[in-house]
């Protein structure tokens, strides 16, 4: 943004003389570590496999596993214990239907179970350490961070500390942890039920991205014998829309695939827009797959309602002021043709949609207007 200032353009040229050089030498696709773990998880879950991606993934897996080993060795050095949060987390993560945050919650619950701490304080410190490890494993994933934070809040913010007996206090913590895991698992069902009132017969729904919550909503609606049509954006470069449309066609829902650039063209036949969310931030806006913001803008200007389906463990204490105000999640982009090395490629995987372009949020806490998100967050964290 500051480039708008003429003086700063000059400064920028002077200062950024070296970075482009470095870029050309590195090349956008050559360093696997710049691809965020968040994106890798996503890709693995959705089975998005492109030729380029395959090569990238191989390199990435090597990098990540090495990282993991170093982390685990760190852990072992520190605590001399066989239990490892990351392993536990990865075990949980293998279940395709389990969200990353829920996997993290399960892993953290396992930490409590396996803990050999003898005081409450020790246990808390251990839990904190584990969650920090998890968070540092993938700094770009909002739901992972938010899930860990929420879990710690939820578990430690009990009267457990008042129990004199440590074991009963610990079992109480475990109980709460289980409960939280359960709530998080059920969240998707709850959201699907809540959103049914908004889908009416004969409506056309535009969907962007491949969100398991949105898919659940559409499935439930189809099971309830609602008649509706779905427009899927293609979702370059992962082809999320292609995947979603194939899922929907299996359910006999009429579905149409659009180019990402055809959103404004077909917006007039759309009745509502559905998004998932990677994270819901404090302002009530969402962070989601790239392209969400522009679709929301188009929908807003054409007065179409924009609904967001997100579980409450995605509520994060973040407050981005603009698009660049968050840790970028980078991904490889395949253009099919060879791109000259001097051409820069925008590789960010997600954008931020401000709350004024969203109509309602469907969460397991209920159907909320964007401004209530902050209310909930304040009550949770303060």
């Amino acid at each position: 943004m500051w480039r708008r200032s003429p003086s700063f353009i000059l400064d920028e040229r002077r200062s950024s003389n070296s970075p482009p050089m470095a870029d050309t030498t590195r090349g956008p696709f050559q360093n696997s570590d710049s691809i965020s773990a968040y994106y890798q998880t996503r890709a693995a879950h959705h089975g998005v496999i492109t030729s380029d991606w395959l090569a990238q993934a191989q390199a990435a897996v090597g990098g990540v596993s090495g990282e993991e080993q170093s982390l685990s060795s760190d852990n072992q050095l520190g605590t001399e214990k066989s239990f490892n949060v990351i392993e536990e987390f990865n075990n949980w993560r293998k279940q395709p239907d389990l969200a990353e945050a829920v996997a993290a919650i399960r892993a953290l619950a396992a930490v409590i179970r396996a803990s050999e701490a003898s005081t409450m304080m020790e246990l808390e410190i251990e839990l904190k350490k584990a969650s920090d490890t998890l968070k540092s494993w993938d700094k770009t994933s909002i739901s992972l961070t938010a899930g860990c934070d929420l879990f710690i809040r939820y578990v430690t913010r009990t009267s457990a500390l008042e129990y004199e007996d440590f074991n009963s206090a610990k079992s109480r913590l475990l109980e709460r942890a289980e409960k939280f895991g359960e709530i998080s698992c059920k969240a998707r069902r709850i959201i699907a039920m809540l959103s049914q009132d908004f889908i009416f017969d004969g409506c056309t729904i535009l969907v962007h991205g491949l969100s398991r919550v949105v898919l659940e909503i559409l499935k439930t609606a189809a099971q309830n014998n609602k008649l509706f049509r779905v427009l899927c954006t293609e979702g370059r470069p992962d082809g999320t829309g292609v995947l979603l449309s194939s899922e929907l066609s299996k359910l006999d829902i009429p579905v149409k695939l659009l180019l990402d650039s055809a959103v404004a063209y077909s917006m007039d036949e759309v009745d509502m827009v559905f998004f998932g969310a990677d994270g819901v931030v404090e302002s009530g806006g969402i962070i989601n797959m790239m392209g969400t913001y522009q679709i929301a803008l188009v929908a807003h200007s054409m007065n179409k309602p924009v609904y967001v389906a997100a579980e409450s463990y995605k509520f994060a204490r973040l407050y981005p002021l603009d698009q660049k105000d968050m840790a970028p999640a980078l991904r490889p982009i395949e253009f099919g043709v060879k791109i000259p090395t001097k051409v820069e490629v925008e590789r960010s995987a997600r954008d931020y949609t401000p709350p004024q372009y969203l109509t309602l949020l469907f969460t397991d806490l209920g159907v909320l207007s964007p401004s209530v998100v902050s209310d909930e967050l304040i009550q949770l964290y303060l």
Binding site: R4, S5, S283, G284, L321, D325, S374, L382
Partner: protein, 663 residues
């Protein structure tokens, strides 16, 4: 109530916009009509007023219905003294028959004391009325407080000059009708004659009100004329003279120890608490009767400014600065106001302390000092008496300069703290606990809150940014300095505006610390906004609907920033959040010195210009101090509770109001 209907029959044409404040012919012709309805209001309101000075010093608007009062009255009188009292029914009959007869009632315990003291001391004190304002105010309030039946002067206490009211109040309290005549006969002033007339007429029928009104109108018109003619100094003296003539100070001796029982006190306390729970209504300064009443109680002699803008008549319109010498000469003859509070008041008045936080801290520290020096009078309850005292201080401060919202919140906290003091606490313990509470408030809600805000806000400053700020806000200054300290590379644009030019202070401080700054005036905002990437603003208060109430010009900055889609970050401590809703900047605002706007250096040099500016009836200067920014222009509010959207202000207020008060 036929008088009211008469008033309604003539529609008042309210002119909107800026126009001269000369008395327009239609209004003056209509005045008598309106005045008739005036006294009725005054009578109903004056009585409870005197019952509880504490509640009313701040908000003279909140008034229980009069019938309630009359019921209470009899019981209270009975409790106070075992004198034969007419039953409530009889009382009401009195009311119904002839209100003017009411003051005749002779059942008053403090009879003799008053009767003896009044005339002698009158002579003593009438010499320097100007310096006596302090005594007068405190006396009249205390006096009326000490009399359970202080409101008996129902019809006579109407908007007459102060002398008549207080005198009749005492007289009616002390003796019968005859005595009144005697006392008023004794006083040598010019007003004696109309006074007598008034009395006699008051006894006859209600129409006298109108006549008395007319006399007052005439007096006021004369005053206004005197004011209009001369320069300010002349007009001041002109004001002082009638003041001297009309206002007879109540001598000190009349202040009596309260004879009422404890149970009555608690009843009063309960009532007061009830009243405190009701949100306070703002004083409307275009409501003549209330303004007059407030003025009678005033410590600070305010000169009404001759420069009035119609749209802002409801705000206090006083000239600034000229009361200062008067007040500072009174410094050593203080009575009701603690010297620390007095000092702070003078500093507010002179503008030595500006900035909400600084003002609030100064006020709280003064209260701390006052509480340390406080000694509970014998036969009094610390909670009750201290609250009264604090109320007195607060009303004094208001007279010096209208309170900011944050100060209101702080005062509310303090009063709550006083109210919640355990009964079994000794005086010294109570004082220590209160002082530590105040200290904690300053530390936690202001100083630590600022630190938290700095920590939060710094995360939003990236390298290479251009931060724009407006005027001077100490939190913003702290943020910028801290960000510079931790090695962020950024540039600052300081936007400033006449007449205060507060930005220069910020500029000086930042430049000496080695920050890269640009200084410009608000006129260039649309040009300079192009460069900015973040706008940091301070706040005086933020209301429940997210409206930002800040230094005038802030709204302009926020709107321009919004048009350029530059995020606007407001830094505000949570103790400044207010549960009220504000829609515009007209209802609630503060008027600054209009001369500051008029005083343009280049204009001053030209004598001809200055002449046309000074004495031009078609020209008013409006110097507003604050404006309101709607919440949609604010991207984020940084408070001690973190970074929140403006829609979350009610959440903070709801969740933490209790904690705020409890601390």
């Amino acid at each position: 109530m036929d008088t009211r209907r008469g008033a309604l029959a003539v529609p008042k044409v309210r002119r909107v916009g800026f126009f001269t404040s000369i008395e327009p012919p239609p209004e003056s012709s209509q005045r008598p009509n309106r005045s008739q309805s005036g006294p009725v209001e005054a009578t109903t309101s004056s009585s409870p007023l005197s019952n509880s000075p504490s509640g009313n010093l701040i908000s003279p608007v909140l008034i229980p219905p009069s019938r309630h009062h009359s019921d209470n009255l009899t019981t209270r009188v009975a409790a106070a003294a075992p004198v034969p009292v007419p039953g409530p029914a009889a009382f009401r009959r009195y009311l119904a028959q002839d209100r003017s007869l009411l003051h005749v009632g002779s059942y008053n315990p403090p009879d003799s004391l008053l009767g003896t003291s009044t005339p002698s001391s009158n002579g003593e004190f009438s010499e320097d009325s100007a310096s006596l304002f302090g005594f007068q105010r405190s006396d009249s309030t205390k006096l009326s407080a000490s009399f359970p039946n202080g409101g008996f002067d129902l019809t006579l206490a109407v908007r007459a000059p102060q002398e008549s009211e207080t005198k009749i109040a005492t007289a009616s309290a002390s003796e019968g009708k005859k005595k009144i005549a005697k006392v008023s006969g004794k006083s040598e002033s010019v007003t004696t004659k109309p006074q007598k007339e008034k009395e006699q007429k008051a006894l006859k029928d209600k129409t006298t009100k109108a006549e008395r009104r007319a006399i007052q109108e005439a007096q006021r018109a004369a005053k206004a004329a005197a004011k209009g003619e001369g320069s300010r100094r002349a007009d001041e003296s002109g004001r002082a003279n009638p003041g001297k003539a009309t206002k007879k100070p109540q001598p000190k001796k009349e202040r009596l120890p309260v004879t009422s029982s404890v149970s009555e006190k608690t009843a009063v306390a309960v009532e007061k608490e009830k009243r405190m729970d009701v949100p306070q209504t703002l004083m409307q300064y275009d409501d003549r009767s209330r303004v007059d009443k407030a003025k009678r109680r005033a410590v600070v002699e305010q000169t009404e400014s001759k420069n009035k803008v119609e749209l802002f008549l409801h705000l206090p319109q006083y000239e600034r600065g000229n009361q200062l010498p008067n007040l500072s000469s009174n410094f050593f003859t203080l009575d009701s106001i603690h010297h620390a509070v007095y000092k702070v008041g003078l500093q507010h008045l002179a503008g030595d302390i500006s900035g909400d936080n600084a003002r609030c801290i100064a006020m709280l520290q003064a209260f701390q000092e006052a509480i340390e020096d406080y000694i509970t009078p014998p036969m009094k309850d610390l909670t009750m008496d201290l609250t009264t005292k604090i109320n007195g201080y607060v009303s004094f401060l208001i007279e010096c300069r209208p309170l900011s919202m944050s100060m209101g919140n702080a005062i509310r906290f303090l009063k709550n703290q006083i109210r919640k003091l355990p009964v079994n606490l000794s005086e010294s313990e109570a004082k220590i606990s209160l002082c530590s509470d105040i200290g904690r408030f300053i530390d936690e809600k202001i100083i630590l809150a600022d630190k938290a805000i700095v920590q939060h806000a710094v995360t939003k400053i990236r390298d290479g940014e251009v931060l724009l700020t407006y005027g001077f806000s100490c939190v913003v200054e702290m943020i910028l300095l801290y960000a510079h300290e931790i090695g962020k590379k950024f540039r600052v644009v300081i936007v400033d505006s006449r007449p205060n030019l507060e930005g220069q202070k910020l500029l000086r401080r930042l430049v000496t610390r080695g920050l890269d700054c640009t200084y410009t005036h608000i006129n260039a905002i649309s040009y300079i906004m192009r460069e900015a990437t973040r706008v940091f603003l301070g706040a005086s208060s933020i209301f429940s609907n997210g409206t930002l109430y800040a230094r005038v010009g802030t709204a302009c900055i926020a709107m321009v920033a919004n048009a350029f889609s530059v995020p606007v970050i407001v830094c505000c401590e949570a103790y400044k959040f207010h549960e009220r809703v504000l829609l515009d900047s007209i209802c609630s605002n503060e008027l600054g010195d209009p001369d500051a706007v008029a005083n343009i250096p280049s204009f001053r040099t030209n004598a001809k210009h200055s002449k046309t500016i000074n004495n031009n009836k078609n020209l008013q200067f409006l110097n507003l101090m604050y404006d309101s920014t709607p919440s949609e222009y604010i991207s984020m509010i940084v408070s001690d509770y973190g970074m929140i959207p403006p829609t979350s202000i009610p959440v903070i207020v709801r969740e933490y109001r209790r904690e705020h008060l409890l601390l």
